[in-house]
């Protein structure tokens, strides 16, 4: 809330040079003796903090304060498709309970769908205070307009302070629309959540497309929305005895008008899902050719695990996008993960660093992956992995040819 002001009378060539160097986004320009900031500015304010004093100032602006006491409670959106609750929901309930305890808030769930009453009862085994249900035929399939309308009704009536949404296909579509309708903040793919005494949600996520984490708050808007990916938080134990209550809410069905018609829903063939795998071998950029993907594939095979890849592997078309680990792929929490020739950008590690045992093999001793690995192996995958596969084969008494790696076929 504010802007940068440049005091041109303090600017000279030397100072301009200094400031241009400080700006990490290359947004400071010095043309004909006038210093200017262009639209590339990210308002990191480093020019104010680290630059020559007083040259660039940050001017705070008057803002209308939101009444934070008017909002109460932490709400979890019950993520489901056709009534089947996604496990990320329970993980978010676990986190919501932890946050709620700190500021003495209730924990709510909002459940939108059709004929879902019996499904909602299961939620009562996880220590929440109240489930709000909107049970309408119009909500049978996920269609954006009716879902946002029901969510809007809920927020207007209940006024929750925090709303947590799973970063699933549905959540990624729904949360931003709800946030925009209420002109409020939304932070995607949070890896850490906490709450301040003043009820501001602390949201931590990788930022700026680099090896950087950002701590983000929503200081003057309510509700505060955050999405969290599956396998980031931990689900609480299921209680034998249910607690809390279910409230069925009704609303004006005219608000369910939609321009979307769901014509057909086909169940997908159950497919191998790396999110559930206990052992994963991940191929990274050090793999030189598509054929060499067999290194990862064979190692995964002898370990009876799954194999996966990083974004460059997917972009090269060497591996199916469903096997991508990282912020733009999947999050995994296996017992064992072995990374082959992966440098360890935060976009990748955010998707796997909560694995129980991380083995990283990389030639470069300075690779960032070694910061998070439990066992950092400084070596060439082309030398280490074939020998490792041999060793394991010997121990397990595996003989004969291993199955060959087949690259994904494009749909085109």
């Amino acid at each position: 809330m504010g802007k940068l002001r440049i005091n041109q009378n303090l600017v000279n060539d030397e100072i301009a040079k200094k400031l241009i160097k400080i700006c990490p986004f290359g947004s400071i320009e010095y043309i004909n003796g006038t210093l200017d900031i262009n639209a590339g500015c990210k308002m990191c304010k480093l020019c104010v903090k680290k630059g020559p004093k007083g040259v660039i100032e940050f001017i705070e602006e008057e803002i209308v304060k939101v009444d934070k006491n008017a909002y109460k409670g932490i709400t979890v959106y019950v993520d489901h498709v056709e009534g089947e609750i996604h496990p990320v929901t329970y993980e978010l309930i676990g986190k919501a309970k932890e946050l709620a305890a700190k500021v003495n808030y209730p924990v709510y769930c909002i459940f939108l769908g059709y004929q879902i009453l019996d499904k909602a009862e299961e939620l009562l085994h996880y220590g929440i205070d109240e489930v709000f249900i909107y049970d309408y035929k119009e909500l049978e399939h996920f269609r954006i307009e009716p879902y946002v309308s029901a969510f809007e009704d809920f927020i207007n009536k209940i006024k929750p302070s925090v709303i947590l949404v799973g970063a699933t296909t549905v959540g990624r579509s729904l949360a931003p629309r709800v946030a925009a309708r209420f002109r409020t903040g939304l932070t995607a793919d949070c890896t850490v959540l906490d709450i301040k005494e003043n009820t501001d949600l602390i949201q931590i996520r990788p930022a700026f497309g680099g090896n950087i984490m950002a701590k983000i708050i929503t200081p003057n808007s309510r509700p505060q929305l955050a999405t969290v990916r599956y396998k980031i938080m931990t689900a609480p134990q299921r209680n034998e005895k249910p607690g809390g209550k279910i409230t069925v809410r009704s609303m004006d069905v005219n608000k369910f008008k939609s321009n979307i018609d769901v014509i057909k829903v086909t169940k997908k063939e159950p497919e191998e899902n790396i999110s559930e795998a206990e052992i994963i071998v991940v191929a990274g950029r050090a793999i030189k050719t598509q054929k060499d993907m067999s290194l990862a594939y064979e190692l995964a095979h002898v370990l009876e695990g799954n194999f996966a890849g990083t974004r460059p592997m997917v972009e090269a078309g060497w591996i199916d996008p469903k096997r991508q680990i990282g912020l733009s792929g999947r999050t995994v929490k296996p017992k064992l993960i072995i990374t082959l020739g992966i440098s360890g950008a935060v976009q990748f590690t955010a998707g796997m660093k909560s694995a129980d045992h991380i083995f990283a093999i990389n030639k470069d001793p300075k690779a960032a992956i070694f910061n998070i690995a439990h066992y950092g192996i400084v070596g060439d995958i082309y030398e280490v992995v074939p020998k490792l596969i041999e060793n394991i084969k010997k121990i397990k008494g595996l003989t004969g040819e291993l199955p060959k790696y087949a690259a994904p076929t494009s749909r085109n």
Binding site: I144, I212, V265, L303, I361, Y375, V378, V384
Partner: protein, 262 residues
């Protein structure tokens, strides 16, 4: 049909670090490129134009040099392009970015469909598309795998849901975000590059917008604030092994045995 595609210029590399002592961002070079996911959105638009006629217009938000990304879209075949760029847009979060783009789109004339990529590679949030749709009060469908049918008033698409594939029909105007691989993106053409060398890119600033209220743009229009940036945690409980390939393989084997993975 009138098609608008949202595109973004992103850093060419992800080699951005933060100095743990000073907290200063260190960025290696200023290499930029079109967000790779946007190529699929643009290709989808060009394919639709081939089959159904009409125009493909691209819009982007960014610093003045983001004009390059629009020129790249021209080289692939876009008819028209607009950049919204103003220092007053600086520090925009998802909400302010979406609002700014929706204001820009309102200046591009009537449209049937807006197409976006799945997400960007620098923000990775995948939230701007749905928020633009909200501001324009149009329906949106994300995770579009295939386009099945188009009539004069609607589009039927196949979308990827966690356990299902759904076919849905959505009326125009609407917004869709397409999955990678919906179509294979074409390469920029040298011929088009020559043809469009002097083609104008409209650049809009705050004063060109319908809503000129500064408080809705940039940092002022952003409900979320970055309080702090810091390097990711390090694992303190770690071992580093060095040696030749054979020694290392043996060491890993032993450890995997000890942990009962073999």
């Amino acid at each position: 049909m009138e098609i608008i595609v949202c595109i973004k210029q992103v850093p060419g590399t992800s080699k951005v670090q933060v100095d743990p002592v000073t907290g200063v961002l260190i960025r290696d070079g200023i290499d930029t490129k079109m967000n790779p996911y946007d190529l699929f959105a643009l290709e989808t638009a060009l394919k639709l134009r081939e089959r159904h006629g009409g125009h493909v217009k691209v819009i982007s938000m960014g610093p003045p040099q983001a004009v390059d990304v629009i020129k790249e879209a021209f080289m692939m075949g876009a008819d028209d392009g607009m950049l919204v760029s103003d220092r007053k847009f600086a520090g925009a979060d998802v909400l302010a970015t979406s609002y700014t783009l929706s204001q820009g789109i309102k200046k591009m004339g009537d449209f049937d469909i807006i197409i976006t990529g799945k997400q960007t590679t620098d923000g990775d949030t995948a939230q701007v598309g749905p928020e633009i749709a909200e501001y324009l009060e149009i329906p949106h469908i994300a995770n579009v795998l295939r386009i099945l049918k188009i009539t004069g008033k609607d589009i039927t698409v196949e979308m990827d849901m966690p356990n299902t594939i759904e076919i849905a029909k959505v009326k125009f105007p609407c917004l869709i975000s397409v999955e990678k691989d919906i179509f294979q993106p074409r390469l920029p053409s040298f011929k088009k590059k020559m043809e469009t060398k002097n083609k104008e890119v409209k650049v809009l600033c705050l004063n060109d917008m319908e809503d000129k209220n500064e408080k809705r743009y940039g940092l002022s229009g952003s409900p979320t604030q970055v309080e702090k940036i810091f390097p990711p945690d390090e694992n303190t409980d770690k071992e580093i092994w060095e040696g030749n390939g054979e020694e290392l393989a043996d060491k890993i084997t032993e450890k995997l045995k000890e942990l009962k993975f073999i």
